[in-house]
Symmetry: C2
Subunit: 506 residues, 2 copies
């Protein structure tokens, strides 16, 4: 049991969070055409568009059992689907059983989902089987989906009638309502639009990680979305809401890694040390962006508590020491040795706390801890090679997080990062999340041109390979790469991949 | 185009019908136990109950992907299902995809539906695939089903949590609200209850043929349901509503065989001559039961029109002459020669019109037509054998409908019927609908004991073989018999099978 005053404070955080639930804005759109695909190994997404028909053709077509077509809304959206199901025949004498499959990418609507090797639940596969009893009828799919394509399959109807699909509409939904001025940077226009769309489709009543799957508020994703938000949609109250949700749902005094909003706000069982440390950073950046020092003051005790506890639990003699059964994330990358990276996260968070204290006039001093951890961090640095080596391993992540910690002169961090990138044996960044910190570390250490050049290759590469929104996972040579062992459970609109639109504006 | 005055009258019939939409009454019930079955060829319904557990055991059980159980509500109902889907685990991190299968009989919940040879749509197969996004949640299945059993299958959930089903409830619905006094006739108590339950579950906002499938108002079924209704639930306004629906939805001046209520009242494409003739009989019996001569007067012109037209189209020299492309129903029985049966229906309807005219004081005289058709009917009668022979064929149906027409002394009709029943080469009644007319013909010709004895064997046979409600189709030696070539598309609660409860009260 938490002490009574803690409970009261938590419930006050929660009620403040709930008072900030944003109004969602709906945009109705019609598909532009029906499309068909053929498998093609020369295309990154494995399927080539081979034909299309205007919707007018399709709206004149009456379909029987076995009918199967795909509509293309040309652009990703998070939202709902509705259509009018018309029926005609000598006797409209049965229900219509339909399957609707929602596709972020062509594979979703043309490849079989089963059998699957996914180790996360296949219940996320984006389809519905519905039965419509009384025809004609307006059909409204109640579940929210993330999609550009929708495949319609007429599974079973009576041979005595046919059906027609009219007035197919998506009802896109978001809490990103501000108009954003496009960037005017040669070669980045499309990349920026894809980034903005990614954030827009993840911005709902919280910053979701991805609208296709999980749909949770993750702390690591929140920091990145908040950064992009401050320079684009500027729904800053949504950041505030998310901070209060995390504050209101502590478990044993810990800020958890992720939250569910519905059916009622609740934490998942996930706790990630590096994410918890980023709470401090996210609060600092929120106060910097908004000047809302009241929120800074109110949540600062949590930051202090986080730092005191995590330093006590994980730092031995100035060195981060992994504990059993604790999740250190950094990247979806099994081979990665995370010790140096987490060391960097600690220093980054301590420095943020120091800075936040000043901003809100709270007397706090972490200089001793920063000094000790910096000294520990330096033990990873190979002066000869100019890179951080973590138990014999060179990784992009180690360089990135040390760069975020800024323990060396800026140019040395840049050198370390670029050197690791050039090293064919180095462990690369495996996700856009980890890639972001490579880019941010360059940016933070004044290598803005290198940052943008890399961003262009990376995010531009996704666009060239068919991204309408940025993907959760991206391996430029392997469209089947999945952290979940099944690409059909990947999310193709993922918040942690939207940050190029921040780099383009800061 | 119909003349303007006809259209106005039709729309006034329709609005009168819609003013009579009954209030439905809901009854919530909980399943009594979970059950399991094993295939067993010695059991008529092919599956033997091998185990059961009280619901208390099941409510304590947490289920994972692959879980599969059947609840038994012990008794058929038409209605809805709801339950609370509880979730527990280290992380409730995915939707739950469930399949719910609704069973009138055990086979529905334990046999595979596919592949199917059914020539009516397999979209009637009674199951739903649903995805529940936010757990825990109260789940309410919006579609109406007809069921005693519900099979719950957990198709897919995350391995990180389990689900529990609490508060499983059926919400039975009917417009049969009156309490009915049970019959006190030795050996018929259970049979009567099954009959009453059959009618109750078919009585909705119209008299449906069956709540599992079609769910339509068929004229042939209406007459039988109305008869039982007058001596049991006495929702006579529902009969009136149905008569006005038929009157309001004439096509080219014809009363169609069946109607849909939703999404708006409409006829199907089906027209059946024998059913149309029964409109006259149904109106007569309605006026007899209710003394509502105003409705009799209002709808009598339609009866006259039906008789004039059908006599003109189908009677040549006093003999019914089948026309091409016209549906004569009588029974689901391909071998049956229907000529004599339809001849009987004509005479039966003409006599009803004569009687109705007297009742409502309308001057009408069909005695000439009755005489001519009776003379024609006699040409089917084989005086030596004492049965009606239709183009060389002896059938139960021919005897039954001639018995309904009452063209011979009563005992001769009884003899003809019993003789056909004893004739192993005679074409039998294949459905309870056709069987009803065998029984009614006996009853009408004063052989009430024989009628009840046969009813006991027939309906009692269904009860002995596991009927909770009376079935659409029943072949005492073949549980796989189906008019649709797949027993999974049979209805096991079918209005035309409920009439034993009438015979027991008249």
């Amino acid at each position: 049991m938490a002490p009574a005053e803690t409970f009261q404070e938590s419930s006050s955080f929660l009620s403040d969070a709930q008072a900030l639930i944003p109004k969602l804005v709906y945009t109705d759109e019609e598909p532009l055409e029906t499309v068909s695909f053929e498998p093609d190994d020369t295309v990154f997404l494995r399927h080539r568009r081979v034909a299309q028909d205007p919707m007018s053709v399709h709206e004149e077509t009456w379909y029987s059992t076995g009918a199967d077509f795909i509509v293309d809304f040309e652009g990703h959206r998070t939202g709902y689907l509705s259509f009018d199901l018309d029926a005609q025949g000598i006797n409209v004498d049965s229900p219509a059983r339909l399957r609707l499959t929602f596709g972020e990418v062509p594979a979703d609507v043309v490849e079989e989902f089963y059998p699957s090797k996914s180790w996360i639940s296949t219940s996320w596969f984006p389809y519905e089987v519905i039965s419509v009893d009384e025809l004609p009828q307006k059909v409204q799919i109640k579940r929210r989906h993330a999609f550009r394509y929708v495949r319609f399959q007429v599974l079973e109807i009576s041979p005595k009638f046919k059906v027609r699909f009219h007035n197919i509409k998506s009802h896109a939904v978001t809490s990103a309502t501000n108009h954003v001025k496009p960037v005017d940077l040669d070669g980045f226009e499309v990349i920026d639009q894809v980034g903005l769309r990614t954030l827009r489709d993840c911005m709902q009543t919280v910053y979701e990680d991805g609208p296709r799957r999980d749909r949770r508020l993750w702390l690591g994703d929140l920091r990145l979305q908040a950064l992009v938000n401050y320079v684009t949609f500027q729904n800053n109250d949504l950041v505030k809401r998310c901070l209060y949700l995390f504050a209101g749902l502590q478990v044993d005094g810990k800020i958890m890694a992720c939250l569910y909003e519905r059916p009622r706000p609740a934490t998942s069982g996930d706790y990630i040390v590096d994410y918890e440390l980023l709470f401090v950073v996210t609060l600092l950046e929120y106060v910097q962006a908004t000047q809302d020092t009241a929120t800074g003051l109110r949540l600062f005790p949590i930051c202090r508590q986080i730092l005191t506890r995590t330093l006590h639990d994980h730092i031995r003699d100035g060195l981060f020491t992994p504990q059993p059964e604790v999740w250190y994330f950094i990247d979806w990358q099994e081979q990665l040795d995370r010790q140096a990276s987490i060391q960097g996260v600690f220093i980054f968070a301590l420095k943020a706390a120091q800075q936040l204290g000043k901003l809100i006039n709270v007397n706090v001093d972490y200089s001793k801890e920063i000094q000790e951890l910096t000294q520990g961090a330096m033990s990873f640095f190979d002066t000869d090679k100019g890179v951080f080596v973590c138990n014999g391993q060179v990784s992009w992540a180690s360089q990135a997080w040390m760069g975020m910690a800024q323990i060396l002169p800026a140019e040395k961090h840049v050198q370390a990062i670029l050197s690791a990138i050039e090293d064919p044996n180095a462990i690369k960044a495996n996700t856009p999340y980890s890639y972001h910190y490579v880019l941010e570390a360059l940016h933070r250490n004044d290598a803005k041109q290198q940052c943008l050049a890399l961003a262009k290759t990376y995010f531009g590469g996704m666009v060239d390979r068919g991204a309408d929104t940025f993907w959760e996972a991206y391996s430029e040579n392997d469209s089947l790469f999945s952290p979940y062992h099944d690409v059909h459970n990947n999310s193709f609109c993922h918040a942690w991949s939207c940050t190029v639109s921040w780099f383009l504006r800061v």
